[in-house]
Symmetry: D2
């Protein structure tokens, strides 16, 4: 879909947003806030931004949150906000993995919609419990596997679904980074510290942090369920407690075969998430660092470069774009798309109408569970010498 005019949020209800985690020095909290603001569908009005009360207060002040809505802990926040007539509509949970389940439950229980960072939790059993609990509520739950918000990722999914590639055969997904090439966690770097700590991250390091994104992307685009995997997880940096590199072979329902590589010790790779999918009739290639181009390779024809909002881009991609082709959109816009789509879902719920179907691609609890089962299978397989291990449906 060729976009000629710029588009911001479009008319739409502005939701009251709260945030748990994301105080000063955090990475992903700031990203969530930009994502929430970009399309003007949210107003950040409350927060429990840090487990440290001083930092929580200071962080709230930075963000123009009124002092009486800067909470010391999420439980108090959930209770107070649920009680206010102008209480938050939705909360974003951006804490480390081991602190997802508690807040999600606290808010969901009170009917407040939830946007949660990935992976869902740090232990599979918590995830299962959370899913069961959420199933008994009526809240909308979005999980920020943000790469699904990129316009051309969605178009890739659509092209596969409508058979442009024929039956799929091969799925190659990789997510290399290099920032943990040295023992950064010993230097006081906050991001590195919790992501390499089994207490806060869970049983997997690199696999949980970025392997889950790669896995989600592969399932999202192919529409295929990965049934089993054979994995080798490695800790290369001496003294590190969790894997910093993972190699896997994948078997998909229907017979497709794949590989997944995630690494945080591959120098020269910054955030190299890349997906290649091949079927009987053609292939698709997409690279997160050049997200505005999708390479389509119909067998027996010249390769085609589809650019976001340019010729050959579809309405599905157009839904997730804001500006014309050639004006690069990036990570924040892709992330914002999840927020925009969730705003539509939540607004529709509030207004008692059906949401725009295009807004329904946001990953939710099902994808969260898939991710946790993937982690568990990868860890188990690796412990058993890369034996093939099922990923329960």
């Amino acid at each position: 879909m060729v976009i000629e005019a710029g588009r911001d949020g479009a008319a739409g209800r502005r939701l009251r947003l709260g945030m748990v985690g994301g105080g000063q020095g955090a990475f992903i909290g700031a990203v969530h806030r930009i994502a929430a603001r970009l399309d003007d569908r949210y107003e950040l009005v409350a927060g429990a931004l840090s487990s440290d009360p001083d930092r929580a207060r200071a962080s709230a002040a930075d963000l123009h949150i009124a002092p009486d809505r800067a909470y010391a802990d999420f439980e108090a926040m959930a209770e107070a906000e649920a009680a206010r007539p102008d209480g938050i509509d939705v909360v974003a949970i951006v804490t480390p993995n081991h602190r997802h389940a508690g807040p999600v439950q606290a808010f969901a229980r009170r009917g407040i919609h939830v946007i949660c960072d990935k992976p869902l939790t740090h232990r599979l059993e918590d995830a299962e419990a959370l899913a069961a609990m959420l199933a008994r509520t009526d809240v909308i739950f979005g999980l920020t596997h943000n790469y699904t918000g990129y316009p051309l990722v969605r178009q890739a999914r659509e092209m596969v679904a409508q058979g442009d590639l024929g039956a799929l055969r091969v799925v190659q997904v990789e997510y290399p980074q290099d920032w943990l090439t040295t023992r950064l966690e010993e230097t006081g770097q906050k991001q590195a510290a919790w992501r390499t700590d089994p207490e806060r991250s869970g049983a997997a390091g690199c696999v949980g942090d970025i392997g889950t994104h790669a896995f989600n992307l592969a399932e999202f685009v192919t529409g295929l369920r990965c049934e089993s995997l054979a994995a080798e997880l490695t800790r290369f940096v001496p003294g590190r407690r969790l894997d910093d590199n993972a190699h896997m072979m994948l078997r998909f329902a229907g017979g497709a075969r794949g590989m997944l590589w995630s690494s945080q010790v591959a120098p020269g790779n910054e955030n190299g998430l890349k997906l290649r999918v091949y079927g009987e009739k053609g292939g698709l290639e997409w690279h997160q660092e050049q997200p505005n181009t999708l390479r389509h390779t119909p067998f027996g024809e010249p390769s085609r470069l589809i650019s976001r909002s340019g010729p050959g881009s579809s309405a599905v991609a157009g839904h997730a774009s804001r500006i014309p082709a050639g004006h690069p959109e990036g990570y924040l816009e892709g992330f914002a798309q999840l927020y925009r789509d969730l705003a539509e879902q939540i607004s529709a719920r509030i207004d008692g109408r059906a949401p725009d179907p295009a807004s329904l691609l946001v990953p939710g609890i099902a994808e969260g569970l898939r991710g946790m089962r993937f982690i568990a299978a990868a860890v188990a397989s690796s412990q058993r010498g890369a034996a093939w291990t099922d990923i329960p449906a």
Copy 2:
């Protein structure tokens, strides 16, 4: 400067913003609004969004502007907002070129700061008058040559300034697009209509619309003044009234030589602004469609790819970044940087303090005048058979 944490607006005053132009169906108005929101330093509270009153009202409602601050015309808006205790601090002018000068003067006269889209005006004499008028006021004036907001463009400027390339010799700048390859202006497409209309755009089409960006980028990065040019402007599409392709040779102060190509009839080019600069000791290459990489080619050494926020990126680039390397930022983030920097300038003015020096790179009235003189010289040169024509300082 390696960025490890995400960064949104940082603590800072939130300014009250008004907008003139940018109603439903516009391109650049939506971009300005996203840019204003991204770092949370502005709140859009007033607007004269369209010259059509109904569209103005509807557009304002879409944008959550209170009905009493949705104005029918900019003059009324300027007067009313200047009179309110909670009146706007700053106004964004996003009308077609021939409707820049009036609003700028109306607001500036009343001490309201101004952010104006480029080019400055549609006639050089208006620009000169505007500059003279602004010189008598105390307002801050920012011109959205948005490509100067890209982190690596700023780093390129810094590298040139600190002598990394030695004395400059060659400057190659180009800005090809393809959207006017056919006579789009006859189809009702609003963007095409005004941009190819001399009444609304001025004496130049492609040169004014995008050639000015290329020219600004070249002077911004090199720090050199372009003293004269020899230009050939062409109208390729039958019936078109303004140039849709321009070729120029450039002479810079100090002896550097350059070329500028801008086109809107080059199929396959979406928004291909590209700058290459070569000096005695090395070169730099930057391409707007891949803005997160700067190629540095020190003579006699392997080429280096500097990535935004990655190794080799400087504090100047870091100032204009929000997220770590490998997470692509794009057009909107670059645009937003001008807004963020102007927020800092205006806030500092309000607070009676000195602004962060890093915020002072935003183009202003001087760059606006340069652009208008460039347009005038290009048109004059082309009319005289590409004779060398001075661009007054």
Copy 3:
């Protein structure tokens, strides 16, 4: 090493060359002949070019081979040439895999040096026998794992060996093609027919044809022995008798871990051999389709692009180059490098002098055996559900 002048073969003895296989319609025979001619160190004077006598004769005539040296079969050729005072110095064996062992033995037994296409044979036991037999002769044996002839592949090997990357951790190698996406072997296409036929190719299809190249490249550049693998070989095209896709995980001596993907059913991939190697201090990336650039990514520094014959290229690369940087060399030049180096080895043998050490990088019988053991291990692993399987040293 910056090359300023063009370089052809340089002074050097011109060897008399024979060829077995490579008649009209063959692929790799023509490549061997161009490779032999490029540096002017060989003269093709004899051949048993086809098992079909008419085609053998006609092919010989095309190639200016004298009728009396156009042989009906390799055995006769070996006997006759060995008996001639002007008999061939060296023979190139370019038949399908199942017809390598016989000719190699026939010529080697008579003291004629041998250049053989890969893989060494079609059965491991033949390869072992051949190696044993060759060990009892004094002939020089070169195996055309031609990708080792690329200048920057050799430089990559050197950089790893001299510790530029530190201890290696991760090795990613892949070799996707697409030409067997459909059942081409049923259409009469000669290349497809024998490569998918177990009688002529051996127990593996894609793994033997191109997986061996990938494996060889990985061991060549890293200098590490791959000790074991876990492989999943797949036949995607209905009716195909041998694998057309292979996924493997690799374990290297010293602890490095890797992946290998080879495929002939990945649309849009023509000859996509690509190697990425990461160590404690940096990484290297090389892609066969862009062979004139080597990406070096020292950790914590900007990426560097080393171009063949350009700044940062080494003497090892210079040895394998002919023309200055920016003048692309390709597949044929890389292939020719093996021929040039073997010419030096054979000439030195004839002249009773030590060969140029730079000429000794050509793969030989040891690499041939490695390749056959790799194939056997891959097939065995896949049959046992991707169980880890040792590759004997």
Copy 4:
């Protein structure tokens, strides 16, 4: 045209080749020899390889030229070879520019066919005289504007000719290098010395050396005659006697407009010849350093990447290819194509038959004259302040 089998010279007469120039230390002589050998249609049997007799002799010995055919000067060579029953069929002239005209005449006068390096001569008047003289002979004359030998350059020409782009509008050609960024000619480097010396190169430096290639490529592909130019030639390196950078605007018959940039002082550019052509219906882009891909951008459709010998490549490109897609061919193969085509032309002449029409694309005397007139016009325009200057037809 998809190529499945490898192809070397194909059956065909082998011509006896002589060479003038190209002794030890030369660049282009070695390139010519490799080009002549690649397809096996030539045998180098005679040479006047250097004006220095010792070097001439030693160079001949290196190249297996019999001592009695190693000549001290070209005049003697022409006379002796013309007299031999086994005398050369064709001679390659690879001397510096000022030594082209003499040898060409000496051999042509005696009915020996000529292959000459570009530019044709060092002075326009010599070129005119040479053309007049050749017109009175019957010899075949090929000029090695070697970039016309690349398969996809020929396909680009064909696509333009058959109207795939519609009427052409814009032609952007550039040829940046960096090897003369410093005053290399003072260091004893032989290539730099003669190319910057007006006595040996003529009135232009960079323009003659590489600008002529760019100009030839533009006219070759577009099929349009460039009628006039406005040029600014610059000498950036202090003490240099000829231009090392040139900027030009071009006007083509039929109304197309273009730019040409050639430079030898642009760090990071090795041999960056690049052509972009845009018409009413689409565009084409080709870059010499990535010669195996042609980008085709039909307006309103996704860009297409046509790969040499891959889907979408034409028979014209197939004629100039040797190996399947994905196996990169480069500079030497493109150069060799001119030799192969000339072998066909000369063989057909000898055999009294019509040559393969596909062999007739080799530039000849007409292109040589065009190049000289281009140089003259560029120099004249630059001397007159970049005034528009006609290039006589």
